[in-house]
Amino acid sequence: MDSLLQQLLKHYSHLKNYCSAIAHNFHFFSFTSIKQKIIFSSILLSTFPIFITIVYIYPKEEHALRDALIQNLDSIGHKQSEFIEKWIEERKADIWLIAENPNVPGVIYKSEGSENFYRLLHHLKYTRDTYRYKEIFICDRNGDLKITTSTGKVITNVSGFEFFKQAIIGTTYVSPIVPSVIPIINEYGSLEQGMPTLFITTPVIYERKIIGVVCLRIDVMEINKLMRSVRLGKTGETYLINKEGYMISESKFLSSLKDFGLVKQRTTLELKLIDPFTGNFTKGVAECLKGGSGYDANGYIDYRGKTVLGFWQWLPELEWGIIAEIDKDEWYGSVKKLHKITFSILFLLTLAVVSFAFVFGKKISEPIVYLTDVTKSISEGDFSKRVNISAKDEIGELSKSFNKMADFVEEKTHALEEYTSNLEKIIEERTKDLTQINKELEKQSHDLEKAYKELLTLDQMKDKMIRDVSHELKSPVAQVQMAIDLWTKEIKKDPLDRSKKERFEHIISSSLQRLRKTIESILDLSVLESGRFVFKKEPIQMDEIIHQTVMDMKLLAEKKGLTLTYHSSGNLPVTIGDKNEISRVLINLIDNAIKYTESGSINIYGKCKDSYLEISVEDTGMGIGLPKEEYSKLFERFFQEHPTMYGSGVGLALCKNIVEAHKGRIWVDCKGIGKGTSFKFTLPVAPSENS
C-alpha cells in the first residue's frame, strides 16, 4: 500500500512538474490573472480523480479481478479433474461387479444357450442401459468373444487389442479414446465406424486364475456431458486432451468450427489444439502436455484464434489433460466497460467543473480586474476615477473602501503637490543661496589656497633672502678680510709691488662701500615698511630731477661704455612729494639699468598722461628671464633674478614702496631675454591752483 502510495505521489509529482514546465514555457500559464489561476486549479483538482482512477484504482481492480479469475479457473479445473477421476472410478466399480458375477465363469467355459448365459446377458444389458454404455462384452483367455450386449457386428476375437493384453495380465485398464474399428451408433442414431470410443477392461478371476476379460465400451458423449456440467460464462469451456494434443471431448464451439471447416462431425479426435496463427500447440495445451498444472491470466491464443485466459492440469493415470479457458474479452470486458463509464462520468464532471470555474473565475476576476484598472489609472495620476460596484459581498465592501481610500489619496496628493510646489520654491531659493555661499566659499578656498601657495613661496623666498642677504653681507667682509691678510704679507716683501697695493686698496674700498650700501638699503626699506617714515610734501619739477640724476650718473654709465640720455617731452607738470625719495627711485632704476646692460644705451622718457606723469627707464640690456606673470616678483623684498650680481635685492622694493606712497604705480615691460628692459612709474600731477 505504501509503495503504491509512493508511486502515486511520484506520478502526481511528475504530472505537477510537467504542468509547471508548461506553465513556465507558455505565457498563458504564467497565471498573471486570478481567472487563470482559478481555471487551472479547477482543472488540476477535477482531473485528480481521473488520474487517481487510472493510476491507482484501475490497476488495483484488474489485479483483484485477475486473482478472482485464477481462483475460479483453478477451482473449475480441479473440480472437473475430480469429476473425471470419480467417473472413471465408478466405471471401474461397474466392471469389477460384472467380473465378479458368478455366472461369468460358466459363460466363459460353457457354450451359448445355457442358463448362466441368459442370466448374465440380462445382467449385462441391464448394466449397459442403466449406465449408458455402448457395449459390454466378455471374452475368454484367448480373446474369443463369449458374450456381448451388442446385437450388430461384433469383433469375435480381441486378443490383438491393447485393452485385452493389459487386462489378461491382471490390470484394470482404461484405454485411450480411439476410433472404433467396427461401426457403432453415433450421436445421431446411425452406425458409424471410427466413432471415438473408450474401453475399460478387467480380468475375470476364477479359482485364482485369469480365465477371461470383461470389457466396457464407453460412450464418450457421456464425458462431454460431464465437461459441460460446469458452466463458465458465455465463452468459457472445459475440455479434455489426449497426449497427442487432440481434443477428446466436444467443444462448445462445435458448430462454428464446423462452419470454418476445422472439423467434420465432432471435435473429439478431429481437432488438434494448435494456434491457427503459428501452427504450434496453444500455450494451455503445450504446458499441459509437459505434465503439470498451471494457468495464464494474461492471455494466449487458443485453437479458435481468440485470446483466452486458461487453466490446465494433466491427469497422468489417464494420460489426459483437462483445460479450462475463457475469452479474455468476456472476463475483462465488463471491467473495461466499467472503466469507460467511470472515465466518461469523470470527464463530464471535469468539463462541468472547468466550465463552472471559467464562469466563476470570470465572475470573481471581473470586479478585481476592474478594480486593478481603476487603481492603475489613479496611480498614473487620474484621480477622477472611482469604482462602481454595487455588490453586497466582500468585493462590494472592498470597492467602498477603495473609493474612500482614493478620496483620501486624492486629497493628500493635492496637499502634497501644493506642499511640493512650495518646497520646490523654497529649495530653489535655498539652492540659490547655497550656490552663492558655495561660490563664496569656493572663492575663499581659492584665495586661501592662493594665500597658502604665496605663503609657501614667501617661506622659500625667506630662505633664499636670508641666503642672499647673508652672502651680500658676508662676501664683502670676506674680501676685506682676505685683502688685509694678503696685503699684510705683501708689504713685507721688498720691493713692494705698487700695482698690487692699489688693487688691494680698491678692493677694500669697494667692498666696504658695497657693504654700506647694502646695510643702508635694508635699513631704509625697514623704516619705509614700518610706516614710521614721513614723506615730505613739496612741489617737484620732475624735469629738473631727471636732468640732475642723469647728469650725476652719466659718468658711471660711460665707464661701462653706455650712453645715458633723457628724452624730455617739454615741461612736465609739477607733482607733489618727497624730492629726495623720488630721486632715489630714479637713481635705483638707472643704477640697475647700468648694472644689467653690457652695451648699448639707457634712455629716460618723461611724459604727461591724463593726470599722471609717466617716467620710463629703458635699457638695451639682458632683459628679464622670468615669465611675464612673475614680473611683479622683481619688486618684492630681497628678490634677485641674478643673485651673483652685486646688489642687496631691496632696491626695487624700495622704489615700489616710495612710488606707491606717492599714490603712483610702478611696473616693468620686457620683450624677452636680450631685448632690453623698460621700468616705468607714474606720479599724480599736482592739482592746479585754480582747481
Binding site: R467, K474, S475, V477, Q479, M482, D485, E490
Partner: protein, 121 residues
C-alpha cells in the same frame, strides 16, 4: 709637470686673491666665470683640481658638481668648494659628492695650500 687648477669664481676680487696666494707655487691656474664656462674648460684644460664657488650665474655650483660627477671621464677630478656660506647651509653639496672639501670664505693662504695639497698630493 705642474698641476693645473681650474678656479670657478665670478667675483674678480676673489680670483685676484687666488692668484696672489698661488703665485709662488708650481700650480698653474685657469679661470672660469661660471659653471657653463667651467664645463667647457674641463674638456680643453683637463685640470687636476677644481676650486668651485657656489653662487654662480648661468650654471650654479651645485648643478655644475652634479653634471661633473655624472660625466664618467671627469667624475674623478677632485673638487674644493669655496663659498662665503657655511658648510651647514650647503649640505646638498656633500650628498652630490661626499669626497668634496669645503673652504669657507674668508680663508688664509695656509688653509688654501693645506686643502689643495690634501686633495692632489
Amino acid at each position: 709637470m705642474s698641476k693645473k687648477i681650474l678656479i670657478v669664481e665670478d667675483e674678480q676680487e676673489f680670483f685676484f686673491f687666488y692668484e696672489m696666494m698661488l703665485e709662488d707655487t708650481d700650480y698653474t691656474i685657469v679661470h672660469a666665470l661660471d659653471g657653463k664656462q667651467a664645463l667647457e674648460m674641463i674638456e680643453t684644460e683637463k685640470p687636476d683640481l677644481i676650486i668651485l664657488d657656489l653662487l654662480l650665474d648661468k650654471l650654479p655650483g651645485d648643478e655644475f658638481l652634479k653634471q661633473l660627477k655624472s660625466s664618467p671621464p671627469h667624475k674623478d677630478i677632485p673638487v674644493i668648494v669655496a663659498s662665503s656660506f657655511s658648510p651647514h647651509s650647503n649640505k646638498t653639496i656633500f650628498e652630490i659628492d661626499p669626497d668634496v672639501s669645503y673652504l669657507e670664505k674668508p680663508f688664509t693662504q695656509e688653509r688654501l695650500m693645506e686643502v689643495i695639497k690634501r686633495k692632489i698630493e
